[in-house]
């Protein structure tokens, strides 16, 4: 049978129409509302960020409130062995927190000062790029989130993170948790974990535990894209730096040094 040019074009046209129609049909078929919704109390932001004010922090005088509160809230085990320790938020001296941003004559008070460090919730997070299972992903509000159910413990993310913000569970963490927070899960042997910017608290309308716990108002949290937020105001009025900005990860944790 001969196919006329006209006939061929007709069939072709119908095929193209079919291809266009398929996604449309799909979109309409799925329009029945999701059975889950956000808590109306939830704090919402476009890009969450944190500012640490080293001039106010009293870590060197023994204050550990931010760390204790975070680790208690999230059932982070206290393992003393440096090689196996788990940490979501901790302190580093200047030369570890900001390598390459100091020099030999830097003021002793800065050199010896501890800086509170945690996951930077980078705008371009290398950990998200390397995760083979999408267990680490970026939420729309900028939080770099971990889905522990998907983590296979490959530790690519730990190799990729330039801030050492991730810890691996070499053993069952449960025996090392002094008082369990019964409202939050623990982790298990074989998964990686890190700070989650307190998503579970933000989703319920609360500020991050570290920010709330700081008795010296050295931590600020808010939406960087919102000009009226605490963090935006502070960033506009102070000189602040980030950790390892040269790597292009665009961290969202900022530091006031002096």
């Amino acid at each position: 049978m001969e196919i006329s040019r006209r006939h061929f074009l007709k069939i072709g046209g119908i095929c193209v129409l079919g291809l266009v129609a398929q996604p449309l049909v799909k979109a309409f078929a799925q329009s029945d509302v999701s059975k889950a919704s956000r808590d109306p109390k939830a704090l919402t932001g476009k890009k969450w960020g944190l500012v640490f004010d080293a001039t106010k922090c009293k870590y060197s005088e023994g204050c550990r409130e931010c760390i204790l509160s975070c680790h208690r809230t999230h059932n982070v085990p206290a393992i003393d062995d440096k090689k196996e320790e788990i940490k979501w938020i901790w302190a580093e001296p200047y030369e570890n927190a900001f390598p390459g941003q100091g020099h030999e004559y830097i003021a002793a008070e800065i050199k010896e000062k501890p800086f509170i460090v945690l996951c930077n919730h980078c705008t371009d997070p290398p950990c998200v790029r390397v995760c083979p299972t999408k267990a680490t992903f970026k939420r729309e509000d900028g939080i770099v989130m971990m889905d522990y159910h998907r983590c296979i413990g490959c530790r690519f993310c730990m190799a990729a993170c330039p801030y050492g913000a991730r810890s691996f569970n070499f053993k069952d963490p449960r025996p090392f948790i002094k008082e369990e927070n019964k409202e939050y899960p623990t982790r298990e042997k074989g998964v990686v974990e890190k700070c989650n910017f307190c998503v579970e608290r933000l989703d319920a309308g609360l500020m991050p535990a570290c920010v709330e716990a700081c008795p010296h108002k050295a931590l600020f949290f808010g939406d960087l894209e919102e000009p009226g937020s605490d963090v935006s105001k502070i960033l506009r009025s102070h000189y602040t730096i980030q950790r390892k900005p040269e790597l292009g990860t665009r961290p969202n944790v900022y530091y006031i040094i002096v």
Partner: protein, 134 residues
């Protein structure tokens, strides 16, 4: 070559072979385990005016694993923490703080069925079980 006088041995061998093959069947004869009876007797459920789960009982029986899977994805991946049930009622989406708040007798409830069907959901290495189980 099969010889006629070997017949008894062959038959004996076959009988022993079939007997061994059927071992699981005759070993379990008369031992049929009783159907599980998950207990709904918990302080939280006793206080409910309407003894209702988040969805209808038949749905929960059949599909609680899919529901938990959805719950997990909604919370972890989308940040949606309120579940709107078929009847419009709202629940906090949480394995520890919702399911096991009502079903605080995990050993007499979840485990009853799971042991019977031989599934062992690996949730409890991370999600904390209620006190009553220990």
């Amino acid at each position: 070559m099969i010889r006629m006088r070997d017949k008894p041995y062959i038959i004996l061998g076959l009988v022993i072979f079939l007997g061994l093959l059927a071992f699981p069947f005759w070993y379990n004869v008369g031992k049929a385990s009783a159907a599980p009876e998950p207990s709904l007797d918990t302080p939280a459920i006793r206080q409910l005016s309407q003894k209702q789960c988040v969805e209808a009982r038949s749905y929960m029986r059949k599909s609680h694993m899919q529901l938990l899977n959805d719950w997990r994805n909604w919370v972890v991946r989308d940040g949606d923490r309120i579940y709107v049930a078929e009847n419009g009622k709202k629940y906090e989406i949480s394995l520890q703080n919702s399911c096991l708040q009502c079903h605080s007798n995990k050993a007499q409830f979840c485990d009853q069925c799971h042991n019977y069907v031989g599934v062992a959901p690996d949730c409890w290495t991370c999600h904390i079980e209620p006190e009553e189980n220990k």
